[in-house]
Symmetry: C2
Subunit: 180 residues, 2 copies
C-alpha cells in the first residue's frame, strides 16, 4: 500500500493505532486506518455415486492441477451461497449442500477454506473457462500427486476416512515458512 485509498495521500504510516494490537497503514492526513484481513475460500466436495468431483484448473495458480471446485467468498453472500456459486462458475453444475465438511487454515496466505459436502442436482456439468477437465474419482483413483492445494487434499482425505454420513466439521491447517 503506497497511497491512501481515501484521500490519495502518499504519507501513509505503518503503525499500531491507538487501542489496537496490530500495525496498520494509517493516513496522517485523513486519519483513515486501512485494515487488511484474511479471506475465505468456499467450495464443495461433491459425491456422485461414491465418486468425488475434481476439476482441472484452467487458470493460475496451479494451472493444470486437480481441484475441488472452490473460490473466494464475495461480499454480500453467505458461505453457502458462495460455495454453490463457485461450483456453478467452475463446472456448470448445480448442487445441494450437505454439512460444512472442512475448515482449513493457510495462515501464510491469509486464507481460510470452508468446504461443504454436496450432491449434484441433476447430472449437468460442463467445462468452463476456469476448468479444462472435470472427472469423478473413486477414492482409490484420487491423483494425490496432482492435487492443486493442501486444503483440497485435507478435505478429500477426511472424506475418505470418515465417509458421507459423517456430520463433523474437520478443522486443519497448513503451516509453512512465510514467503515474505
Amino acid at each position: 500500500m503506497n497511497y491512501c485509498s481515501n484521500c490519495g495521500s502518499a504519507d501513509l504510516m505503518y503503525k499500531i493505532p491507538e487501542d489496537d494490537h496490530f500495525p496498520r497503514f494509517v493516513c496522517p492526513d485523513c486519519d483513515t486506518i486501512h485494515y487488511t484481513n484474511p479471506n475465505m475460500v468456499v467450495g464443495c466436495l461433491i459425491d456422485k455415486d461414491g465418486k468425488i468431483m475434481l476439476a482441472r484448473r484452467g487458470i493460475e495458480p496451479r494451472l493444470g492441477f486437480w481441484n475441488l471446485p472452490c473460490g473466494f467468498l464475495e461480499n454480500e453472500e453467505t458461505v453457502e451461497q458462495g460455495a454453490k456459486r463457485e461450483v456453478y462458475e467452475e463446472t456448470g453444475a448445480t448442487v445441494e449442500l450437505g454439512n460444512l465438511h472442512t475448515v482449513y487454515n493457510l495462515p501464510h496466505a491469509n486464507q481460510v477454506y470452508l468446504i461443504f459436502k454436496a450432491d449434484m442436482v441433476g447430472d449437468k456439468y460442463e467445462l468452463t473457462t476456469e476448468s479444462t477437465e472435470i472427472r469423478f474419482f473413486a477414492p482409490e483413483e484420487i491423483p494425490w500427486d496432482e492435487i492443486a492445494f493442501s486444503s483440497n487434499a485435507f478435505a478429500i482425505k477426511k472424506y475418505i476416512e470418515h465417509g458421507k454420513a459423517d456430520k463433523i466439521t474437520h478443522v486443519g491447517s497448513y503451516f509453512k515458512d512465510k514467503i515474505r
Copy 2:
C-alpha cells in the same frame, strides 16, 4: 475507494475485470484490481461449570451490550489462534478450544462468525479496555435483550439446545435489507 492504493491515481473505474464475474475497482494507470472480500470474526463460547462467559462491550459498536468474546481474524493467524487471542484481549482469560461450534453469516455486513467451544485454563480473567464487565450466565440467566449481536444469540441458543457434548458445527445466517 477514491484513489488507487498502489499508484495514487484518481481515475479508478468500477467495472467487471476480464474473466471475472463481479465489479471491482480497477486502476487504468497501473492495472491493479482492488478486491474486497468478507471478513471473519472469531471467538469462543466458554463454559465454566455449566455457565457461559459473556463480556459487556466497552467499545462501539453495541457499547454496553453483552457479547461472546470475539473479534476480527488477523493476517497470518489461524482461526483457532485468533479465537484464543480475542478471548485473551477482551477478558484476560486463557482457554483451551473444543470443536468449532457455529459458523454464522452476516452478508449485509460482509462478515462470517466462527465460534469455538472452549474451556478456561485456570480461573484467571480480568476487565480490559474492551470489556467493562465479565460474568458467567446459567442458561436461564442469559440476558437475551442485551445480547450485542445475532451471531452470539445464535451460538448461545445452539449451545443450550444441543449441550456441551455435541460435536456438530451449526451454520446460520442473519439477513436484512442492505444498509446501503
